[in-house]
Symmetry: C2
C-alpha cells in the first residue's frame, strides 16, 4: 500500500502530494504512523539542493513522532501503538569502531532520514527500528519532534565539553537550535550569553535562559565579551567574524560549529596557539545522547517554543521558515 507524502519534485520546488511504495519491512525495521514532523533549515537545504546531494522527488522531514504501526521480526523492544520518534539519522553500519563504541552518529556509512530516502512529511515512514526513540510519557509529541534533531544537536556538545553550572557559554544565533540551547544551559545553571542579529529577541532570550544578550550586528558589542567564554556554540549557517568570536573565548576555550557556514573558515593561528583556543564542530548526537537528552528535557521541563501547523499547510510553514519568521520551531501535525 503506497505511502502518502509531500515532496519537492525538483530543486527549490514547493511541496506537492506524492505517493510512493515503501521498501519491504525488514527484520529490524518499524513502520510508523506519523503524527508530528518538525521542520528544520536542513529540510530547506535539501529542497534547494544546497549540498548537491538531494534526489528528487525529495520528501523532507527528519523530526518525526508517531505511533508504531508494524515491527520487523527482529524488533523486540517496540510495541504496536507505542509512541516513538526519529531524528536526522536513519541508520548506520553498527559494526565499525565508532558504531560499536556508541558513536554511530560519526559512522562513515550512516544514512540520513531524508537524504536518499523519503522523510517524515507523510502519513507513514518505514525505518530501522534501532534508530527510533521511545518518547517519554511525560513529553508531548509536538515537543519531542524538534528535540530529536535540533535538541540533540545542541545537547551533545554540552555533554562533550563537560558543561556545568561553573561554565560560561555563548550561543550564536537564537533560532530553532539556539533557543533550545538557552533552555538547556539554564537547566545546567550556566552563565549563558545570547548573540543574535535580531535585537528584538532580547527579552525572549532572557526569558528562555540567557543571562546576557548581545546584538551581534555590532562588532563592538561582540568585543565587549573578549576573554569570557569557555564554550561558544555557533548555531548559524552564516559566515561570521571568526577572529572576533575566537577572542571572546577564555584561554582553553572552544568554539564549536553546529551550523555549517558557507566557504572556508579563516583563523589566525596566533589565536589558537597563544590562548590554547580550539575550533571544532559537532554533528547531531549519538543514540545514547538522544535518549539521555529526552530524559533531561523531561526532568528539566525543557519545551521548545513551537508554532503548530497542520501538515497540509507545509508550504506555508516552509515559507515562514525561509523568511526567518518562525518563533522558534515549527511542527506540522497530522
Amino acid at each position: 500500500m503506497a505511502f502518502a507524502a509531500l515532496a519537492a519534485l525538483s530543486k527549490g520546488g514547493s511541496l506537492e502530494p506524492f505517493s510512493y511504495e515503501p521498501a519491504p519491512l525488514g527484520p529490524d525495521d518499524v513502520e510508523i504512523d506519523v503524527t508530528h514532523c518538525g521542520l528544520c533549515h536542513s529540510d530547506i537545504h535539501l529542497i534547494d539542493d544546497a549540498w548537491n546531494r538531494a534526489k528528487f522527488p525529495q520528501v523532507p522531514g527528519h523530526e518525526i513522532v508517531g505511533k508504531v504501526a508494524a515491527v520487523g521480526s527482529a524488533i523486540t523492544e517496540l510495541a504496536i501503538g507505542q509512541r516513538v520518534g526519529v531524528g536526522w539519522q536513519r541508520s548506520a553500519c553498527l559494526s565499525c569502531d565508532l558504531c560499536v563504541g556508541g558513536e554511530e552518529n560519526l559512522c562513515r556509512k550512516q544514512q540520513a532520514t531524508c537524504m536518499g530516502h523519503h522523510g517524515g512529511l507523510a502519513d507513514k515512514i518505514r525505518i530501522d527500528g534501532r534508530f527510533t526513540f521511545a518518547i517519554p510519557d511525560e513529553m508531548e509529541s509536538a515537543v519531542a519532534a524538534p528535540l530529536l534533531c535540533g535538541g540533540a544537536t545542541v545537547y551533545a556538545p554540552l555533554r562533550r565539553f563537560g558543561v556545568t553550572a561553573a561554565t560560561s557559554v555563548a550561543v550564536i544565533g537564537i533560532g530553532g537550535l539556539g533557543h533550545m540551547a538557552l533552555m538547556m544551559l539554564r537547566a545546567f545553571g550556566c552563565e549563558a550569553t545570547a548573540f543574535s542579529t535580531s535585537p528584538n529577541k532580547r527579552e525572549e532570550a532572557l526569558a528562555m535562559g540567557a543571562t546576557d544578550f548581545a546584538a551581534s550586528t555590532d562588532p563592538k558589542e561582540i568585543r565587549k565579551h573578549f576573554g569570557r567564554f569557555d564554550l561558544i556554540l555557533s548555531t548559524v549557517h552564516a559566515k561570521l567574524d571568526w577572529t572576533t568570536y575566537l577572542q571572546t573565548l577564555r584561554p582553553n576555550g572552544t568554539l564549536c560549529l553546529l551550523g555549517m557556514p558557507p566557504g572556508v573558515i579563516q583563523v589566525p593561528p596566533a589565536l589558537l596557539v597563544t590562548g590554547h583556543r580550539s575550533l571544532t564542530g559537532s554533528d547531531i548526537g549519538s543514540r545514547r545522547t538522544i535518549r539521555e537528552m529526552l530524559r533531561f528535557a523531561v526532568r528539566h521541563r525543557i519545551a521548545p517554543l513551537l508554532e503548530r501547523m497542520p501538515m497540509s499547510e507545509a508550504n506555508a510553514a516552509l515559507t515562514r521558515l525561509r523568511e526567518n519568521q518562525v518563533r522558534y520551531r515549527v511542527v506540522l501535525e497530522r
Copy 2:
C-alpha cells in the same frame, strides 16, 4: 659590573659583542653564569623582527643552562653553584586565575626571556628565580638546554591530549621540535608517523622513534594516512595543506599547532562538523609541565640530537639554523 653578551644591533643583523648593565637583583631574582644556550627558530624571528616586537640591540637565547651565581633575598630553593635552566618564559604575574591555577604560560602579563629583555647569549643573565628549573643531576647541561623550550613545547600537548601507548600521533616537521617529539612518543609507546619535506630524514626519524615516515612534499603520500591520527602536532612555521592534514585525523582527532604559520589558516567547516575534528594550538609549557618533562626525559633517556658549538661561533650557528642544516638542535657552549 656589565654583562658581556652577543646582540643583533639592528633588524636582521649579525651578532656583535654587546655589553649591558643588568637591572638590580630583585628579591625573587637569580643571577646565572651561563654555560650553555640553545638556538631556536624563534631567535631568528626575533633577530629578523618577524613578529614586529623586537627591540634592538636584541640579545637572543632562551634555552639557557648555567650555574646560580647570586640569589635575591626571597629565594630559598636555589643555592649558589646549583645548575639551573631557563626556557622561553622569564616571568608572569603569578596572581591571575591562570597563574594561580598553574597555567602561567597563558598569563596575559607573561614576559619572554629574550623579548624586551636580554637573553642567554651572554656570560650572565638575571631573571626571576621562580622561572628557573633545577637541572636533574643525571642530565647533561647541553641536553637540558633544548628541552627547556623545544622539549617543553612538544611535551605539553602530549599531556594535554592524554597521549598513551594506544594513541596514533603524527608529527609534521622533523626538525628541532619534531625530533624531540618522536623520542617522547616512543617513550609513550605511541604509533608515531613522521611527516617531513626531507625524504633523507627517513632513517633517522625511524631511529628516533617514528613507526612510519611520509614525504610531505607529495600530497598523495599524505592522503595515504586519511582517518588515521588521534593527534597531529604541526611543528613547522610554514603554510600547509590543512584540508588534507585534517582528513588524516580520526573522528574526534585534533590538529595542534606548535609552529606559527604565516597568514590565516583556512578550514572547510564540514571537516570540523562531520568528524568532530578539532584545530587548536599549544604554547610552550607551564612550570609544572617543564619540571615533569625534565624528570620524564631522565627516566626515558631522552636526549635531543645536538650540534655543539662554542658561543663565540654563534653567527656560524645561526647561519646553519637559517639554512636548515642543523641536525637537529644547536647548543652554544661557553
